[in-house]
């Protein structure tokens, strides 16, 4: 029972954004992908969720069921949700409506409504604003809403792309607490983070991606070398601008 990614390749025209990426994520496990800008981390997450703009070749399965080639709306129904980079809140929809969209994938409508309410208990900042437009939220609130919207679909696996991007340090700490609590719920989490050191502390397993490839992987207690490599890589590649 796990999320299995085997030999994932993403190409945009002649550019190979990800090459032979393979890893697994078990329920309740946090797998962190770190690496400099342009290493292909977001490409990998989008490809798994079925939202890649490029050409994807891979064998992805979730608890034994294949996901490869499926549409994003079907993948979320199989229990895998993506919280994308930039959060992508529906700014003209209310907070509540954003969560309703998250529940569209659910077959059990009544339980889904109860789950929306439970999100307001989990994220009290959202409860106070439930009828405000999504576009009026602060960065931290928007990130909470993006996570809540994904959680309402009742995922077994969650892909988080840069959840701390653009947030104040105190809010980032809160965000990591939330991620820990999701892990405690038994959700398998694949986390892409700029905040590499903090993310590695959280992780059961860390992958270092460089120019589209997984260059190193480490478990939580052998991360020292990886961190050293990570910083070396950012020194070499950090000058490249993000596309």
């Amino acid at each position: 029972m796990s999320l299995v990614i085997e030999n994932l390749n993403v190409t945009y025209g002649s550019v190979r954004a990800a090459r032979s990426v393979s890893f697994t994520c078990d329920p309740g496990q946090i797998v962190t992908i770190v690496g400099p800008n342009g290493a292909g981390k977001t490409s990998v997450l989008n490809a798994i969720a079925g939202a890649s703009d490029g050409h994807v070749a891979a064998a992805v399965s979730i608890d034994g069921e294949p996901l490869t080639g499926k549409q994003p709306e079907d993948i979320v129904r199989q229990g895998l949700a993506l919280v994308p980079e930039g959060r992508r809140i529906f700014s003209s929809l209310s907070i509540y409506e954003n969560l309703q969209i998250g529940s569209v994938a659910r077959g059990d409508k009544r339980q889904a409504l109860a789950d929306i309410e439970s999100m307001f208990e989990r994220f009290p900042a959202l409860a106070r604003r439930r009828d405000s437009a999504g576009g009026t939220l602060s960065g931290g609130e928007a990130q909470q809403l993006a996570i809540a919207r994904a959680l309402v679909s009742k995922p077994r696996y969650l892909l988080l792309d840069e959840p701390s991007l653009g947030l104040a340090p105190l809010i980032i700490a809160q965000m990591f607490d939330i991620i820990r609590s999701l892990q405690a719920d038994g959700i398998g989490i694949v986390l892409v983070e700029q905040n590499a050191v903090a993310a590695m502390e959280l992780a059961d397993k860390t992958l270092l991606m460089l120019t589209g490839e997984v260059r190193r992987s480490a478990t939580s207690n052998s991360g020292g070398d990886l961190i050293a490599d990570y910083f070396a890589s950012t020194l070499v590649e950090g000058g490249k601008s993000r596309k």
């Binding site: 939202a51 549409q71 979320v76 992508r88 529906f90 003209s92």
Partner: protein, 294 residues
């Protein structure tokens, strides 16, 4: 005073008709980013459907006509657009032109090039006289129609699950899919709503001129686009308001301009539209921060 009241009703009613054109165009564009020229032909089919009135009677004709146009729109979506929905926007637009020409020529084959007289509910042609103000019944019906359809649309978009999905898809189509919204289903829903608007608009058009012809909706579809752009691409309410303004301004121009040049009223109205777009290319009522799907 009486003249002003009559003209006001004329202006509001033409505004409502243009708002229907605009809603029909904006609904599909907003969700699927398809510039659908074939919408004009949906209006034409709506107009022709009134020919059934002799055989079926009034109310059944309206129901059958509406069903016919909706079915045609769904077929269009399924057979012409769904297979190429990921194609670039110009490709989708050319496809819609192709579908439009095909439908026009099919109607030429069936009905010929001569306009067919529609005789439907004769009372609509008679004016209603209230305190010596003579108002065309059709104008009143047009205003009521926009009220009902606009209210229904608003309710659907705000209160129903499919409506909320339509709004989410209009804002960020891919994110909506990632959250579980079924792409084919929302696009089809936008075609159904658009078809209801088009069928109603087509029937009103045919009743206004008293005939249905194969190019009945040709001008309407252009007006719909202009209204949508004027209101702001991606804003459904903006499109309706844009249409209303153009229709209203057309009647006002007709009245205000000296008789010698009032025949050229459209030139004045669209000069104003061009000026507005030069200063507000994003449209008048576009919501802040809305971005178009690439």
């Amino acid at each position: 005073m009486i003249y002003i009241l009559q003209s006001l009703v004329d202006a509001i009613s033409l505004g409502c008709l243009y708002a229907l054109f605009a809603l029909s165009i904006a609904m599909i564009f907003g969700v699927a980013r398809i510039v659908n020229f074939a919408n004009g032909d949906l209006m034409t089919v709506g107009g022709y459907s009134l020919l059934l009135a002799g055989a079926l009677g009034s109310i059944p004709t309206l129901v059958v006509g509406l069903a016919l146009v909706v079915a045609l729109a769904l077929m269009m979506e399924r057979l012409a657009f769904r297979p190429i929905i990921k194609a670039p926007m110009p490709t989708l637009m050319v496809m819609s032109l192709g579908v439009s020409l095909l439908l026009q020529n099919l109607m030429l084959v069936f009905f010929g090039s001569r306009p067919q007289g529609v005789s439907f509910a004769q009372f609509l042609a008679e004016p209603i006289v209230i305190a010596s103000v003579r108002i065309s019944a059709l104008n009143i019906i047009t205003i009521i129609m926009l009220g009902i359809l606009g209210g229904g649309l608003l309710y659907t978009l705000k209160r129903t699950s499919v409506g909320i999905q339509l709004r989410a898809a209009a804002e960020d189509f891919q994110m909506a899919r990632l959250a579980g919204v079924k792409a084919n289903r929302v696009v089809a829903a936008s075609f159904v709503i658009s078809a209801i608007m088009a069928a109603s608009a087509g029937m009103i058009l045919a009743l206004q001129v008293g005939t249905a012809s194969y190019n009945l909706g040709g001008r309407a579809v252009i007006l719909g686009f202009i209204s949508t752009v004027l209101g702001g691409l991606g804003s459904i309410g903006g499109a309706a308001l844009g249409g209303f303004m153009i229709g209203f301004a057309t009647v006002v121009a007709q009245i205000v301009l000296p008789t010698e040049i009032s025949a050229f009223r459209d030139a004045f109205v669209f000069t104003a539209v061009i000026l507005v777009l030069l200063f507000r290319p994003q449209g008048l009522f576009v919501a802040f921060g809305r971005n178009l799907r690439a």
